[in-house]
């Protein structure tokens, strides 16, 4: 654990990250970063995220924009010579970030999208794409007031409709109550 006084940052208690992540196994070979399809775009690359977590600098790690750039392709975890589940580390960081509700600036859209996705499932049980797009676009617009983004893909809709790929009638599950309760219990525990 790095002393907060020397690092100049508040350090998280290790309990913030689950023990099954075996962070101490990482020897920083960088194979995760080497294979990551989006590492070029990242402010903090995967091996650095694991390193920050190892040092207990979880706060700094979860504020990295890169955790929301991750495409969850599992390449890092698959190739890790020490079997550290790097993708799960990133998931854990995202979960923390979500709980605190303070995800980083330029990646907020991704957070909003995932949040909207989850709400959508909660309500319908299954994804309603039109509703998701509507809710997400609105939220994103309210967040960053970007008009181009709001209307982006608007042209795709008629083509999708023409191809029979848009459904206006939501595909709902019958037993919605159980889903409500599941969401309640899971989110409350978090």
């Amino acid at each position: 654990m790095i002393d907060a006084a020397t690092s100049g940052e508040a350090t998280a208690v290790p309990a913030d990250l689950p023990a099954f992540l075996d962070l101490e196994n990482c020897y920083q070979c960088g194979k995760c970063t080497a294979g990551c399809p989006v590492a070029e775009r990242m402010d903090v690359v995967p091996n650095q995220l694991v390193r920050l977590a190892q040092l207990g600098l979880v706060e700094r790690a979860r504020r990295a924009e890169s955790i929301w750039q991750c495409v969850s392709c599992q390449t890092c975890s698959t190739r890790c010579p020490k079997s550290v589940d790097c993708a799960a580390v990133i998931d854990a960081l995202r979960q923390l970030s979500f709980e605190k509700g303070d995800a980083a600036g330029s990646q907020r859209r991704t957070v909003l999208f995932q949040e909207a996705f989850l709400r959508n499932i909660r309500r319908n049980g299954r994804l309603n794409e039109l509703e998701l797009v509507g809710v997400f676009k609105t939220k994103a617009f309210l967040d960053d007031l970007s008009i181009p983004f709001l209307f982006k893909d608007a042209m795709l809709a008629p083509r999708m409709r023409a191809k029979g790929k848009l459904h206006f009638k939501p595909d709902r599950v019958k037993d919605g109550g159980v889903l409500e309760r599941m969401f309640d219990r899971c989110l409350r525990q978090a």
Partner: protein, 281 residues
């Protein structure tokens, strides 16, 4: 006719309904009937595992329990994301008795973890490659396919336990049995950007562009996938990719079941290929 359980997942009931049409038609031609899991729910996808771990186990667990309740021993989940999430939840439940009990209570159904989950390649394999080969009516001799596995069909290997995660060959084996050629290329297991299509389009366009470029460079005239998300990114977004990178791809993107279906003599319409954005030229 044999009947197996079927977990379509949201995509196949949404904008990837062409995949559902294709998978159903193709398997029916091979004598496999799909019966949907009663009242299935979304697997949670990236949203669940990125935001809440418990939910990312509970949602697939609910589906596994529903499938058990229906009496299935095996279900097909054509979407690799769904099938990976289902398998991961199953693995966690089987490894941890306390978790199993907790999940049973959470999903309000007794959960034993006894249902196996197949991806589409496995469903075709169990139908029998020899059988497929024998049933070919129209060999696909003009096809030079780049078989595209994407991320989650083979990863994480400890969860999905399917083929070699680095050098998979199972799709090639099936496509080869249809009389088509397959190309050796480099992006078979690279990611297309997956579910970030909406939220982070730039990433998706770039990754998908690389995939299409590499497939063409290795002589492919189509890309074959089993993933609805990959299909969306490579097919539906192809025009955007071309605009963004000022390139011409014109690369047809098929589901594996499309090719099998075509070879078995089904029509493009029967397989939903007419609903793809990019037509084969």
């Amino acid at each position: 006719m044999t009947e197996i359980g079927y977990y379509p997942g949201c995509a196949l009931h949404g904008s990837s309904n062409d995949y559902e049409t294709s998978a159903r038609a193709c398997l029916a031609a091979l004598g496999v009937q799909l019966r949907e899991v009663t009242d299935w729910v979304c697997c949670g996808a990236t949203a669940a595992h990125a935001l809440n771990h418990k939910l990312s186990v509970a949602l697939p667990a609910r589906n596994l329990a529903l499938a058990e309740h229906d009496g299935f021993r095996e279900i097909l989940a054509p979407c690799p994301m769904c099938s990976m999430e289902l398998l991961k939840a199953r693995q966690e439940i089987l490894a941890d008795e306390a978790l199993r009990a907790e999940m049973s209570s959470l999903v309000e159904l007794e959960l034993r973890g006894g249902v196996n989950v197949l991806n589409l390649v496995q469903a075709l394999q169990s139908a029998g490659i020899d059988r497929i080969k024998a049933a070919v009516k129209k060999p696909l001799d003009g096809i030079r396919a780049a078989c595209y596995y994407g991320c989650l069909l083979t990863r994480p290997p400890g969860v999905v336990r399917f083929d070699d995660p680095e050098q998979p060959r199972s799709m090639e084996a099936i496509v080869g049995a249809l009389g088509a050629k397959t190309v050796d290329w480099n992006y078979r297991t690279e990611c297309c950007g997956a579910g970030l299509t909406m939220a982070n389009e730039e990433t998706v366009l770039e990754l998908s562009h690389r995939i299409l470029t590499n497939a063409a460079a290795h002589g492919a005239n189509c890309v074959v996938t089993v993933c609805p998300m990959c299909h969306v990114n490579l097919d539906m977004k192809q025009a955007d990719i071309e605009r963004r990178f000022n390139a011409k791809h014109k690369m047809a993107i098929y589901y594996l079941s499309d090719l099998v279906g075509l070879a078995l003599g089904l029509s493009e319409k029967e397989l939903g290929i007419d609903r793809h954005f990019v037509a084969r030229t």
